[in-house]
Symmetry: C2
């Protein structure tokens, strides 16, 4: 028997199930896979012997379509980190044991930087012990911070959600004629890609965010206040996008500032987002109406506004990962190489996972404008193809159809 | 000349421009209107002589379609409240002066309870002074708290956004296998309709929110903690929907509790939402992972997930308001009467605005389950037709097309 095991790990995205569907769909055109197993909650499901057969979906187009458009990880996720096998071989032995039990030849792990660390360590272990498993990663992360791939699946959909939402928020805030500042916090602890995507709200003639602050640049309170005051002279409503990970000149997160000395009614430290700190700052220093908004989990879960480009690419990255596994590769991740912007052309490649694991791809500093509060045309051009195309998600009773595997 | 003046007021919705488009479109099939004027920022635009001609849109189907699907108030909004004319006649004189200047016979004001107060006072003034203007209201509010109409335009779209988002958040949170509570705060200071709509997330077999607390019932901390503990015994991930306006037994907003004794780093009182208070409570008393989410302005601005039923009805309510004006009615509001649930049948009527102004329609207490943390089947049946149908919004460059009037 040559069986396949697939699992998902890390933070969910709107399209991580499209990659899973791509793996399952890929099996249909190959005669090399007997049984497809899915592990529940990532590598934890392998360790705990919690797996299910997925073969019934191979020829079920309706189910695969529904799975493709269901957000989050249908197989469940985890944040389990493998210790180096030279220090603790036990979990590795357990995994190999499970592989033998289920006659696994191919293991595909769909995830981000941390999950690629698992792929890297596990494939390294197997090579060293001369186990002949193909262990392949398939990328996903809304943060777009994965190395060696032009962009990450999940990012385009989150970017489309953010651009659309920012355009809508701009319409909303612009309808009032009293001075007001609205600050929107966008995910990205160390990389500002998602925050940058708010600039795409301007594509159709809208003004979009007036100010954009990425975490790649040091955040300066005085400069921020001066930027806001300047904008308020030009228009009554100022809309601002900030990365959750903006830091001050001492390297401290802005999000920690408000909480530093505070406790709540229950005597506990209150943890607030960066926007809360900035909201308070503006209230005190400028004194106008101010509102802070966190896009929170919606930016990674909003499959109803997924980018069809992202859905398609996510699916194909699952298929590519499968083909890498079937052709005997191991310790590699399927990835995207961009050939041109206009027309948008890409190539599906595979890259060594050791150069992806635990690394972060940040926004190039020259894609941020010199004044530090906007992005350049290069960034807009980079983003443009990734948010194209509207999801083919199906509705039932007024809400999108979804699928549960467990 | 028989001219028409139209304006928008109060908090924006995803479909308030559909009602404006309905008014403009209605003019096409009537020969009673010469010029259509739009006032900027509601009644303030009338007082400040800030109006624009809208006739060019009457035959421009493309523009009207774009306007229909553009969220927020394209004419701008205000929160201006007219003083009783017996106490201060000055603004009334100014408005009548503007009506004479622009030869206005018909005035249509699109808005919520407060805006209907303006329609009521102004029509009352005109009747008393024997001015022969037709002053008509067209309803809008995501809160669904308007009297004498089965539901309010804007509500169905916000409800569809909330139901869809709750289903997506449920998928997201369910993918983890560690105990965690996610609390989502939904708009509604005095009426829990929007929070109730989160229950529609269950329509397609999803579990949706596990607990739902509306502001119509007194919020009990101990009962809440006990509900959460009970749910955590059944499943690792508990998803909760709460109205922003939940109050404790003393009638104090829960949202004020966290801020009561607190100041921020700048010495200012920190104002937090109800979910922040509950987040802290769970952290202290239960100790599991907890996240709070505010759907914020997105729930009223997300035209990309508008309910097509809501879009169509909003448009027709604009047309109905126009026909009321053209047939000489005054001091009335266009409204919806539901004839049956299944099949969903409604009738467009007009109602006396004095019975709408400043009044609030709350959720009937018998539509809340006895245990106080869910809604009944009657509520689900009421909601079902309102979220049906997917928006026909057009995309350009990956984000929805929008229109600016000013």
């Amino acid at each position: 028997m040559n069986n396949l095991l697939v699992a998902q790990s890390g933070g969910p995205t709107a399209v991580i199930n499209a990659t899973l569907a791509g793996v399952i769909r890929g099996v249909r055109t190959s005669n090399k896979v007997d049984i497809i197993y899915g592990a529940k909650n990532g590598i934890e499901g392998v360790l705990k012997d919690n797996v299910m057969k997925l073969n019934k979906f191979v020829e079920d187009t309706f189910a695969l379509d529904t799975l493709t458009y269901t957000p989050s990880s249908a197989l469940g996720t985890c944040r389990y980190k493998l210790e180096d096998w030279r220090k603790d071989e036990e979990p590795y032995r357990k995994i190999v044991e499970a592989f033998y039990k289920y006659e696994i030849s191919y293991f595909i792990y769909i995830g981000g930087n941390d999950s690629m660390d698992t792929v890297n360590k596990l494939s390294d272990y197997c090579k060293n012990k001369h186990y002949n498993f193909s262990i392949i990663g398939a990328p996903k992360t809304i943060d777009n911070d994965l190395n060696l791939t032009d962009h990450s699946p999940g990012f385009g959909s989150a970017a489309k959600y953010i651009a659309t939402t920012m355009a809508e928020l701009e319409s909303d805030t612009a309808s009032y004629n009293i001075p007001a500042v609205t600050i929107v916090e966008i995910m990205g602890r160390n990389a500002g890609w998602l925050t940058a995507s708010s600039a795409s709200a301007r594509t159709n003639g809208g003004t979009g965010p007036d100010l954009i602050y990425l975490c790649e640049r040091t955040f300066d309170y005085a400069g921020f206040l001066s930027d806001v005051r300047e904008k308020l002279k030009q228009k009554p409503n100022v809309l601002i996008a900030v990365s959750e990970g903006i830091k001050d000149r001492n390297g401290n997160y802005i999000s920690d500032q408000l909480s530093s000395g505070e406790t709540d009614n229950f005597g506990h430290k209150y943890i607030a987002g960066a926007v809360r700190t900035l909201e308070q700052l503006i209230r005190k220093e400028i004194g106008c109406k101010v509102r802070s908004i966190e896009l929170n989990l919606m930016q990674r879960a909003s499959a109803h506004i997924a980018s069809e480009t992202d859905v398609t690419e996510s699916l194909l990255l699952g298929q590519k990962a499968l083909y890498c596994a079937l052709t005997g590769e191991t310790g590699r991740m399927s990835a995207i190489k961009r050939l041109s912007n206009n027309p948008y052309r890409i190539e599906f490649i595979s890259v060594p996972v050791e150069e992806v694991a635990n690394k972060e791809k940040k926004v190039p500093l020259d894609w941020i404008t010199e004044d530090g509060h906007d992005v350049t045309k290069d960034m807009i051009e980079y983003l443009k193809p990734l948010i194209q195309g509207e999801t083919k998600i199906q509705y039932e009773n007024g809400i999108p159809r979804q699928m549960k595997l467990f």
